[in-house]
Symmetry: C2
Subunit: 411 residues, 2 copies
């Protein structure tokens, strides 16, 4: 949680954190500022002190709305800095950071860097800054950053943001189910639109986007609504021209976020319209049984990679190949069991390679659990996913409920 | 244009370009790949050669759809690299880059870095890579990168993408105008919703987002729909609770992009509903006259900062203070005249500090022109903006047309 940042900084020998970039669609800055219309800025958090947001003067209202301590970047006279830098904008930016750090009393120590910005700008500016301030060590912590560790557990206010996104999500999912099951079907088992033309994946996605917009949320990562072979490839988001037919596996994976790029929710169902052929039903039954088994075994503070190991055991016992047997696997259980969900759609805890001792289902954790099986060569795939919350007293439950059923009876 | 990349690389002594991050909502990768469902990957373009896209195996369909030469990242055995790196994920990523560069025959020379990724990851991975490959110079070019210079001029296909976004944009703007002018108004000159409650900025923004979704586009940067004092602060996006009234300045700045984060369009109108008070009309007249003067003077290959200078002259002649007189100005003409528009909402040409000789309205340039005046202390602001295209034969015209009128007569 955010309140853990100072302790984590101490444990990791960090004196300050520097956040940069816009407040929207930039998870680290969103986390610190709460978002708002700030297209670019910087935030410095020294250990044991409140953060300071440095804003551009045109965005003073957005900066003020964050409620944070603020400082106007115009005070640094960029024009003069650019002259001092001989016209080199990266050097000018580094000179400004040097002054900003000086103003918050930071001339030495270790400073971790955060924020979605251009890789070349980051490399250019921070190389120049490191040369200007040799006593200050700029640190790229990578996936084990104190920020990602703090973010892995959520406080009550964050949980309400995520739960609210869950409510919007299942509301849209329900509308999609109602719409599909109300469609007419022709002799070839193809669903038909109101105008009698075949209903396509593209048509359904348009409706999903419309209903998400009605719910006041954004969908920056798109939606997976894939049928048949496409459903057999985990990250195939569906071919717009494919038509909807009865009896084919549809994977519907939806992961919207708050308007402005805040908290996400993650949710997947696998559907067959009208009926399920026997092989699809068997595939579903295998995934469903592993989903039920794993989610019934979830315990507070369990090590996330142990859950992945257990999932592989369960799928292997059913006769499926798994990714722990072959990291290049494309048929069978080919991905990780889950991931944390927060201001990024994928965050800690991690279930796979590179996990640390901290990747546990600690109280406050929000995690997607999404076992699945994929057989693209057989034109099918199946995944079931809910987003779970570990409550302060150690209960582990989906943040919102929705039926897991495979078959949606037609109208 | 993209076809200029090799020449620009040669002129800037670059042997290769490395792009990293997702294909969506990441302008450099979108530009090179055309977008699609690729949540993370790398693309290496050597000078004089076709680019190679490195993709994660789960996203092989998205990678194949780009039509680019591709390579599967699974071939690099991340697990083994992580062991070799002693569990250090940044070092493992650097080792993988070293192998990838080796596979495309790149062991020395200068490589520029691009892509929206986490600043700490960029700093960590590229510091490690630079140490592993001392003969390879990693370059952060900053705002004068060859990529941004290539992107400043658009080919015909890109123009059609942007024009299409313009059509969707003015379609939504027209719907907003029709809706507002159709509202009932109470005795206090407050617009009313269908249910009789006062119409708020929040209500209007919901409708805008819905109509944008209907148009199949995204709105990742939000929309500015601000009334009264809020309209006097350029980047104030509007207070949701403010009610719509007759006779107040409304700034409506809308800048959606293609679904998945492709090309943008930028458009602003200033409206008064029903009537304009004299001071608002005077403010508008000043902005309108500068807009007409500047856009009538646009000439192919003109140096963009000269247009900013000319705009300041025109506003100063009207008695307004301008940002060239005071870089911290908050009342008067407080920002730049425009900016290029493409896969980023703000790109080259630049109209202000740090511009280079290349910041010209060359054929193929797409640029927003947006003069404005702001008087927050008087509760008003005014900005007019269209997105212009410099055609191959040097004609400069807005990509789509829409009336510039201040007053919208109530229906």
């Amino acid at each position: 949680m955010k309140k853990d940042l100072d302790n984590l900084m101490k444990a990791n020998n960090l004196d300050a954190l520097l956040f940069t970039g816009p407040a929207q669609h930039n998870a680290p800055m969103y986390y610190m500022t709460g978002g708002g219309h700030i297209t670019g800025g910087d935030l410095i958090k020294k250990r044991g002190e409140e953060p300071v947001l440095f804003y551009n003067p045109m965005e003073r209202d957005g900066a003020a709305a964050t409620g944070l301590k603020t400082k106007n970047l115009a005070e640094y006279n960029y024009k003069k800095l650019l002259e001092a830098a001989g016209g080199d904008q990266l050097q000018a930016a580094a000179l400004r950071y040097q002054q900003m750090f000086g103003d918050v009393g930071l001339t030495k120590g270790r400073v971790a860097l955060y924020g979605q910005i251009d890789a070349g700008n980051a490399w250019g500016v921070f190389s120049a800054l490191q040369a200007l301030m040799p006593d200050l060590e700029l640190v790229g912590e990578g996936p084990n950053s104190v920020l990602l560790e703090a973010r892995a557990t959520k406080d009550e206010a964050e949980i309400e943001h995520i739960r609210q996104m869950g409510k919007v999500t299942v509301g849209v999912v329900g509308k999609v189910a109602d719409y599909l099951t109300s469609c007419a079907v022709n002799a070839d088992e193809v669903l038909l639109r109101e105008d009698g033309l075949p209903l396509t994946i593209g048509d359904v996605k348009s409706k999903i986007n419309l209903w998400l917009a009605e719910g006041g949320v954004e969908n920056p990562e798109g939606v997976i609504f894939a049928i048949g072979r496409s459903a057999g490839v985990p990250h195939n988001s569906g071919e717009a021209a494919n038509v909807l037919r009865l009896g084919r596996t549809i994977i519907f994976d939806i992961f919207p976020c708050e308007a402005g790029g805040g908290y996400f929710y993650d949710f997947t169902r696998t559907w067959c319209l009208g009926y399920a052929p026997e092989d699809v039903q068997n595939l579903y039954d295998d995934v469903y049984s592993v989903y039920q088994q794993i989610t019934s075994e979830l315990k507070v503070d369990v090590f996330a990679p142990d859950l992945q190991k257990r999932t592989c055991e369960l799928f292997e016992a059913q006769g499926h190949k798994t990714i722990r047997q072959d990291s290049t696997l494309q048929s069978g259980y080919v991905h990780g069991l889950g991931h944390g969900v927060g201001v990024d759609i994928h965050e800690r805890p991690r279930y796979g390679y590179g996990s640390t001792e901290a990747d546990r289902l600690a109280p406050g954790t929000v995690t997607a659990i999404e076992p699945g099986l994929y057989y693209p060569e057989r034109g099918m795939g199946c995944r079931l996913e809910n987003t779970f919350w570990v409550s302060p007293d150690g209960k582990i439950e989906p943040l919102v409920e929705y039926p897991l059923d495979l078959v949606l009876e037609m109208g």
